[in-house]
């Protein structure tokens, strides 16, 4: 078993930085999706003079260090989303160039993704868990002098699986284990419990922050830009948010104002839930949430999706029984 002592973490990071561009994501508010699906990226550039079209170039290798297990799980899921129904080249051009190094606190003991995971043990040490072939190759090339423990010793030293109630969305995590029930309950709630959506419509500020910070949200819009000379046209893809008022708005005819298919906050906010827990389940067999808690933490209106879902679920169970 390979061991990295916590006091040697900085040396390890230095060495990583020499291998490829290194992003330390331990403290970041925005989820790691932004390294593969940036908030704004130029997808195509068209030169009007030469009539030539160039597409985004693949980046150089890069390393994301310190990804939480929930974010690793989200990336694995986003990989699936970006593969269906057709492969998203812009995402995979970057994704294929990345090495993901996860970092676990005293949380889970299952590795849901990533290439390498540093798993915390007692004694301020990390076990270096190699998850993928890509990770294995990378470590070989890195040639870092890890401490080696004899096999068998790890079991005794591993920190027990434990999540503290205050930090993680424990109950939501439980709900997610039955995504079909969650699907049924959320779908039922639109007509069965409209009061909750009316209430949330009064609270939500349509700011879109919950979707920007969510490691799974991936709505986007496409906009063209021109340089000052007017010769170079750039097609940009930008994060969008289904909670924003313009999201489902189309142009009207002459004399007809634009029309939005999700006209109110209520429809838009419900659509966000509907995507995560109803449509997402139908498409992928699971809910589009990994309980990272960011949406709750950064929502300026303090909307807590765990509370909302529990409320819906309690009501749903009462009515169905």
């Amino acid at each position: 078993m390979k061991i990295l002592e916590e006091k040697r973490l900085n040396i390890f990071l230095d060495k990583l930085g020499k291998q490829a561009q290194l992003f330390d994501v331990r403290e970041s508010i925005l989820p790691p999706k932004r390294y593969f699906f940036p908030s704004r990226e130029i997808t195509f550039t068209f030169d009007k003079k030469s009539k030539s079209l160039s597409s985004q170039k693949a980046p150089k290798d890069f390393i994301l260090f310190g990804i939480s297990l929930k974010d690793l799980e989200a990336i694995t899921y986003l990989d699936e989303i970006m593969q269906k129904p057709a492969r998203d080249d812009f995402y995979f051009n970057k994704r294929d160039k990345s090495i993901l190094i996860g970092l676990t606190g005293k949380e889970f003991n299952v590795a849901p993704g990533g290439d390498i995971i540093l798993r915390k043990l007692k004694n301020d040490e990390y076990e270096v868990v190699v998850v993928t072939k890509k990770g294995e190759k990378f470590l070989k090339r890195l040639d870092f002098p890890f401490t080696c423990l004899p096999a068998g010793k790890e079991e005794k030293d591993r920190v027990e699986y434990k999540i503290s109630k205050s930090k993680t969305m424990v109950e939501l995590h439980g709900l997610l284990s039955d995504p079909e029930l969650l699907h049924d309950a959320v779908k039922w709630s639109w007509q069965g419990y409209p009061e909750i959506w009316d209430k949330l419509a009064g609270e939500c500020l349509n700011c879109g922050i919950c979707t920007y910070v969510c490691p799974l949200c991936h709505c986007f819009s496409v906009e063209d830009e021109m340089d000052l000379s007017g010769d170079e046209c750039r097609r940009c893809r930008k994060w969008d948010a289904c909670t924003l008022p313009e999201f489902a708005k189309v142009a009207g005819g002459i004399g007809r104002p634009g029309h939005s298919f999700h006209k109110g906050v209520k429809e838009r906010y419900y659509n966000w839930f509907y995507h995560k827990f109803v449509r997402g389940y139908l498409e992928f067999g699971k809910s589009q949430c990994v309980t990272c808690g960011r949406c709750k933490k950064y929502c300026p209106a303090r909307i807590d999706i765990e509370e909302v879902l529990l409320e819906i679920m309690n009501r749903f169970k009462k009515i169905k029984n």
Binding site: K51, F90, C219, S221, A248
Partner: protein
């Protein structure tokens, strides 16, 4: 493999001015090669859409109006309403633009075979219906009685009048306007009025529609009592579109993606959507 978002360059072969704010654009591939065919031997299935775009301005969805067997060109009818459509209107013959698609599902032409077909459209909804008419006429003996009902505000707003004269020889065409002009010899009133006067064999009739939501609702309310259930009524849905490939989420309607599962749906599928 081509990037799914990368459009192909095309050239405007011909522009026809239909009215102050509506033009038809006939587009051909830059190198003159034909557009690829699908399994049915068609360039697109009537009702499918393409994303036509102009570098620097963006892309917008349009339902092609041309003959789906004609691989030399794709025609779109564009009503000027905003940024992309205004930019398209400023172009001239010979100018270049871009195309992606065809995307989505069109009208289920195999299901329509051997049946009587009622085509209903209003205002600017004619393009996909026009390509469906062209298909039906080319395979006329495969279909029973075919009726086209087309309504517009004034006679000037009725598009494709020349093609309509050709169609009249092979199918029944009923035109109607809200505000008749002095030289108008067609009907006055809504398409719903014309529908009420049609004699139909409801057990073997399918309906294809493309038009504004309120028109679709009004017609659904008429057809159901006439014995045509929602699952035999096909409409082209309108939604905002961006990616066209089922990822960006702009076009969703309940469980469906209009860009991938539609834009043509039978009313039964859509009725269950919470945001229909």
């Amino acid at each position: 493999m081509q990037n799914i978002y990368e459009p192909i360059p095309v050239k405007i072969q011909k522009i026809e001015i239909y009215s102050g704010d509506v033009k038809l654009f006939r587009m051909a591939k830059l190198d003159g090669s034909p557009f690829p065919l699908n399994q049915n031997g068609l360039v697109f299935v009537p009702g499918q859409f393409v994303l036509a775009g102009l570098w620097g301005y963006g892309e917008s969805p349009f339902g092609p109006a041309s003959h789906p067997n004609d691989s030399s060109c794709i025609e779109v009818v564009v009503r000027k309403v905003g940024q992309v459509t205004s930019a398209l209107h400023s172009l001239e013959e010979g100018d270049e633009l871009t195309l992606r698609g065809p995307y989505g599902n069109g009208y289920p032409i195999d299901f329509f075979r051997e049946k009587d077909v009622i085509l209903i459209t209003g205002g600017c909804g004619i393009p996909p219906i026009a390509s469906l008419v062209e298909y039906i006429i080319s395979n006329r003996s495969d279909f029973g009685e075919v009726n086209l009902l087309y309504g517009a505000t004034t006679p000037e707003d009725l598009l494709m009048k020349e093609r309509m004269n050709e169609w009249k020889r092979r199918i029944n065409v009923t035109l109607t306007v809200d505000k008749p002009a002095c030289n108008w010899d067609g009907n006055t009133g809504f398409v719903t009025d014309c529908l009420e006067h049609l004699k139909i064999n409801s057990a073997n009739t399918v309906v294809a529609m493309c038009g504004p939501g309120p028109m679709v609702d009004a017609i659904e309310n008429l057809l159901n009592p006439m014995g045509i259930p929602d699952r035999r009524i096909f409409v082209s849905m309108e939604r905002k579109m961006q990616c066209g490939v089922g990822r960006c989420q702009h076009c969703v309607c309940g469980d469906k993606y209009v860009c991938v599962d539609g834009p043509v749906f039978n009313l039964d599928e859509i009725d269950k959507a919470w945001d229909k």
